[in-house]
Symmetry: C3
Subunit: 435 residues, 3 copies
C-alpha cells in the first residue's frame, strides 16, 4: 500500500477543482447549502448522508431549527442594492431571521458588521443560538452610507427540519479506525473549509481503492453541533478510533501547522510530526489547547480521543481568516497537494508502524554472509549506508516500534520501514506477535 | 477571603514603621534583644512567647547560655572612644565574653574584624559556640589606629538563662497548616531581618481577621538553634504542615527570589513561582541548596517539609549583606508592600486550589444556553474571553487542580479561580470530593 | 586506593613506548601479528592467551581461517618495487589471498585502493569475509603508474588456524566486574588502536598492584569477531559486568569523546561524564548509536551491557582516520597520560560510589561541637568551605549516592568522597547497608 502515491499526478488540481465547485454554496450548520456540498462530495465517493431532526437531544445540546435563505439585500432610497446577498453570501449573518422593513440608517447600523482595520473586506458572522439578523459589509462602503431610509430584506427561513452530515467508511483489515473530519458549515470561505472538504474527498477516493490495515472513517460535518451529533450517535463506537485528524485551511501558503491531541504523545501526534519534520518544510507544532475546530469535541475530557488538527496557516493568525479575502485566490493546487501528501504519509506511517524483534539479538548478526553488508570494510561511506539496518537490529527488542526507531535514528520512516522489510525477508526480524 | 487585599492601603509604610522600631535593638540568638523585639510584635498580634532553659537538649543541639550586653568600647590613651557599642551594636561580635583590660595595638588587632574591600562598613560577626570576644569596625578607621595602649570594655554576660521565641497560630477551617517563619536573631540589620519580622507580623494581623481554609502558624525565632528548638518541641505536629515559607530580606530593591523546597515541586513551590511569574516582576527561581536560612532545618532529610525561602535580593549576593549598610535606608515601603502582596497572593492560591470535575465531560457543554458565551460567533476576540472557561472544562477531569490549569493555560490563578466559581454556580463543575 | 595515581610519573611516556613497540606489527583479525602484540602486552601483565580454532561457531558467526603474510610487492618492468609491503603493512589489503602474476595496468587497477582527496596517504582496507586481494597506495603515486606490465606478489596464507585474543583479570573484593576492552586487529595505525592497547596494558599493571572493590577484566581482542567470540564463550559470566569501557584512539589531540552505553544512564555513563566534565577539558558526550567499536556487540539488544566508548577524537571524524597518517607522530605522551587519568578517575568514582545515610537526619547536626565547622559565623567564605558537608548531610537519605550528590552539588566526586569519609569518621554517616 502506498497512500502517498496519489491516484493522479495533479491531485492538487483535482482538489482545487472540487473546492472551487463547492465554494459558492451558502452553507451553514444546517440547510440546503450543506446538502448541495455533500452531493458534490458524493459524486466522488459512496457517501452516507444522515439527516437528524430538529429538537433531537445530542449530548448537552439540541439539534436547532434548520436555516435556509433565498435572497437578501439593503436598498437605498433610489432603489439601488447597496448590499446584495447574490454578490456574496458573507453579506448575511448566518442564521439571520427573516426581515423585510424600511428603517433609518441609525437603526440599520445596529445590524451591520464591518472590519474597520480591513476596510475592503466583508467579515463572516454567525448567530446560531440567539435570534437576530444582520448584514456584513466592507467598512469603506459602510462609511459612504447616507442618512436616509433603507429597505431591508432577508428572505430566510428558520423552521423545524434537519441537521445534515456525510460519512464515508473504508473498511480495512481490522476494525481499528483512523478518523478524518472536516467541517462543512462555512459559506464562501475557500480555505476554511472548502479546501479541507475537497482534500478529504480525494483522500477517501484514493483509500477506497487500497487494501489497508486500518479502517478509515471520513466525516463531513457542521462544526461543533455536527461533531457533537456524531459523537452522541456513535458513543459505543469510539473505542475503535486509534488515530484521528481534523483538517481545515489546508490550501494556503502558510504552515504547515499541527496541533497535538489532548493526550499529546499519541501515535498520530508522533506520526504527523515525523512526516512534517521530514518534509523539508518548517512545521509549527502546537500543544493542545481547547479552542479551534472539532478536535475540541473529540478531545473533550469524557472522550479524550487521539485526534489532532492539521492546518497550513493557524486559524485566527492570518488577516484573511473569516473574511471575504479567504477566497479561491487564497488557496493553490500546490499547497493542497502538499497537504494531501503530508496526511497520506502520516497514514502510511501508522499503517506500517510495527514492533519487531531481532531474531539474532546477541551480538550483531553477520550481515555479510547474507549479502546485506558491503564486503569490503574500511569504506568511510559504508557506515552511512548500513546505519538503518544497524539501528533497526539494535532497537528491535520488542519495546521499540519502527516509528520509535525512525525518531531515535533521525531517519525518514519510509527508509526504516523498507529496511525492516528487507531484514524480515532475511528472517532477522519477526513481528512481536510471532513470539 | 482575599489575603492580598491588605488591611490598610499603605501596608508598606506600616511594615516599614515596625521594622524601624525594632531595628535598634541588640538581638542575638538569646537575650533581651529578642524579648524586646517580640514585645513589639506582640503589640500587633496575640503572640505566644516561649522561654526554653539553657542546657535543654534539642535534637543534636543544646540550648546555649543566654547572652546580654550593656555597654562596650575601645578607648585610646587620650580617653577617646574609638569604637562605641552605643553608636552601633554591630561593633561587638555577638556572644562576645565580658572583657575589661588595657592592651597593646598588636594584641587588640587579634580581636578586630574589618572589611578591607568595603572600608567604610562595619561587618557583622558572631561566635555563638566558641568563647571569644571581638570588635568590628570600618577598615578605614582601623588603619588610623596608633600604636598605643587601649582600654577595652565589653560589659556582657553569658549565663544560664533561656532561649526565647514567639509563635502565633491562626486557626482555619482545617488543622492543615501553612507555616511562616522569620529569624529574630540579627542585631541592627534592617533587611536581614527586621523586614521579615515586620512583614510576617502584619500578615498575621491581616489573616487573624479572616476565615481561612488552612491554619496559619507564624514563627519568630532565632536562626538555626531556634528552628531546631521549635522542631524538637513540635515533632509530632509536623505532618500537619502542608506549605511553608521562610522570609528574610524582603525590603530591598532586588529580586524577588524564591528558593524551592528540597522536594522541589510541592504545591507551595508551584504557587509561589506562579504568583511571582504573574507579578510583572522578573523573579529568580533557585533549586534547593543546603545553605541559607531556616529552610535548612525544615528541609533536613529527616523532616523534609514543603518549605521554601522567599527573599528579594539573594542573601550573600549583595554588598550590603551582613554589614552596617543593611540599614533603614536599604529597605523601602514599596518593596515591603510588594513582598507582602506576593506572599499573600501565594496564600490565596493554596487557599483556593482545588480539583474539580466537569459535570458535562462529553463534548463541550453548550455555554450559550447558560448565558456563558458570547452569542454572536465569529468575533476574533471571543476566543480570548472564553479561553479560561474552555481550559477549565477541558482539564477538569479529576486529575488537574486549578493551579495545574492556570500553569498549563498560562493564565493568572485568580482568573482561573473566579471562572471556576462561575462554572460551579452553573453546575458545570463539582469538587472532586463530591463524586 | 587511588587508581589515578599512576605507578610512575611519566605514564604517558611509558604508554607511548609500548604503543611504538607494537606499531610496526602487521595485525589482522587473526594471525601472528596479533600473537606478537599480545606477547608485548604479556611482558607487563600476566595475560591469558586464548586460541580459538577456525570453524568454531560463535553466536551468529564462525571463526574464519587464519591469515598470515610474509611479503608483498608490485614490480614494474624495470624490476623496481613501486609498492612494497616492507615499507608499510597498510599497502596490502588485510586478508588478501595469495597472488603471484604478471598483469597489465588496467587489470592491476581493479586491485588498487587510493584516496584521491588525500593523495599522499595510504588507505587502510580489509576484506575479511570475501575472498579478494588488493594493494593500497597514495593516489599521487598511483597517478604516475605507466601503462606497462606489472609483477604482483602477495605471499600470504589463508588456512585453518586460530583466532587469538588476550585476557587479564584482576580480582577485587567482589566478583562484580569492570570490563575494559581494546581491539588488537589493526595493523600500523598508531591511534587506532596501538594507543588503546598500550593504555589498557599499563592500567592493568597499575590495578594489579591495588586492592579494589571491583574485579577488573581487560580484553585485548580482534574487533567484532573477537568480541563476539568472547561473548559467546562467556555468556553465563555477563551478569557480573557492572561497568565497562571500550577504548580506542586515546592518544591524539582531539576530544575527549564519550559515547554512552545503549542504556544511556548507567553508573559508568554518569561516572565517565562526571570525570570528563570536571577535567578542565571540553568533552563531547554522544548518545549511543549502533556503529563504532565493540560496544556494538556488548550493547546488542540480547546483552545490553553497561559499556560505553571512550576516545579522544571521534572515529571517522578526522582526516587521519584509517590512513597512513595515523602514525606515531599523531599520538603524544601527554594525551595518552590524560586519557589514562580520565579512565582511572572514572574507575575511582565507581570504586568509591556508595549510598550513605545521615545518622542525624532531623535538623542539621551541630558541626561546630565536632570541630567540623568554622566557629566564627558570618564569614562570607564559610558557606563555600562547608557546602560539601551540607550537601552530603542533606542528601544522604538512603536514596542518593555520592555520585548523585556530586552531580547535584556540582562538586568534583573526589571532594564529595573525601568529605563523606570525614563525616563517616565522625559517625555522621553510615553506609546504607549498615541500617
Amino acid at each position: 500500500m502506498s497512500l502517498d502515491t496519489p491516484i493522479i499526478d495533479d491531485i492538487g488540481e483535482e482538489i482545487f477543482a472540487l473546492a472551487a465547485k463547492i465554494y459558492p454554496f451558502c452553507r451553514s450548520i444546517t440547510g440546503n447549502g450543506v446538502r448541495q456540498t455533500l452531493r458534490e462530495v458524493g459524486a466522488h465517493i459512496a457517501l452516507d448522508i444522515h439527516e437528524v431532526p430538529t429538537g433531537t437531544p445530542v449530548l448537552d445540546w439540541t439539534i436547532p431549527r434548520e436555516w435556509n435563505i433565498r435572497d437578501a439585500y439593503i436598498k437605498n432610497e433610489r432603489g439601488e442594492k447597496v448590499v446584495d446577498f447574490n454578490q456574496s453570501n458573507l453579506h448575511v449573518m448566518s442564521y439571520s431571521v427573516p426581515v423585510q422593513q424600511r428603517i433609518s440608517l441609525s437603526e440599520l447600523k445596529q445590524h451591520l458588521y464591518t472590519l474597520p482595520d480591513q476596510p475592503d473586506l466583508i467579515p463572516y458572522r454567525t448567530s446560531y443560538y440567539a435570534e437576530n439578523w444582520a448584514f456584513c459589509m466592507p467598512h469603506r462602503q459602510f462609511e459612504t452610507l447616507r442618512d436616509e431610509t433603507y429597505e431591508v430584506l432577508i428572505d430566510s427561513s428558520l423552521t423545524d427540519g434537519h441537521l445534515t452530515y456525510g460519512e464515508f467508511l473504508h473498511k480495512g483489515e481490522t476494525a481499528d479506525e483512523f478518523l478524518l473530519s472536516a467541517h462543512v458549515c462555512h459559506p464562501s470561505l475557500a480555505d476554511d473549509n472548502c479546501s479541507g472538504v475537497a482534500l478529504l474527498t480525494h483522500l477517501a477516493k484514493r483509500i477506497s481503492r487500497l487494501r489497508t490495515r486500518y479502517s478509515y472513517r471520513f466525516l463531513f460535518i457542521p462544526g461543533t453541533i455536527g461533531a457533537i451529533t456524531w459523537l452522541a450517535r456513535n458513543e459505543d463506537h469510539l473505542p475503535r478510533i486509534k488515530h484521528g485528524i481534523v483538517v481545515s485551511m489546508v490550501g494556503d501558503d502558510g504552515g504547515p501547522t499541527y496541533k497535538k491531541s489532548r493526550r499529546g504523545n499519541t501515535e498520530i501526534d508522533r506520526a504527523m510530526i515525523h512526516s512534517m519534520r521530514h518534509s523539508g518544510l518548517s512545521p509549527t507544532i502546537l500543544d493542545f489547547f481547547p479552542y479551534g475546530y472539532d478536535e475540541r469535541q473529540y478531545c473533550s475530557p469524557g472522550f479524550n480521543l487521539p485526534v489532532g488538527l492539521f492546518q497550513r496557516s493557524k486559524f485566527g493568525a492570518i488577516p484573511q481568516y473569516h473574511t471575504s479575502a479567504d477566497n479561491l485566490e487564497f488557496i493553490r493546487p500546490e499547497y493542497l497537494s502538499e497537504s494531501y501528501r503530508l496526511i497520506a504519509e502520516t497514514a502510511n506511517v501508522v499503517e506500517s508502524n510495527r514492533i519487531y524483534c531481532n531474531t539474532v539479538p546477541k551480538g550483531e548478526p553477520q550481515l555479510g554472509k547474507r549479502g546485506l553488508y558491503g564486503a569490503i570494510g574500511g569504506d568511510k561511506d559504508a557506515a552511512v549506508a548500513n546505519m538503518a539496518m544497524l539501528w533497526i537490529l539494535n532497537l528491535s527488542d520488542g519495546m521499540h516500534s519502527l516509528l520509535d526507531i525512525a525518531e531515535r535514528a533521525d531517519l525518514p520512516f519510509a527508509v526504516v520501514q523498507r529496511t525492516a522489510e528487507l531484514l524480515r525477508e532475511h528472517e532477522l526480524l519477526k513481528p512481536l506477535e510471532s513470539f
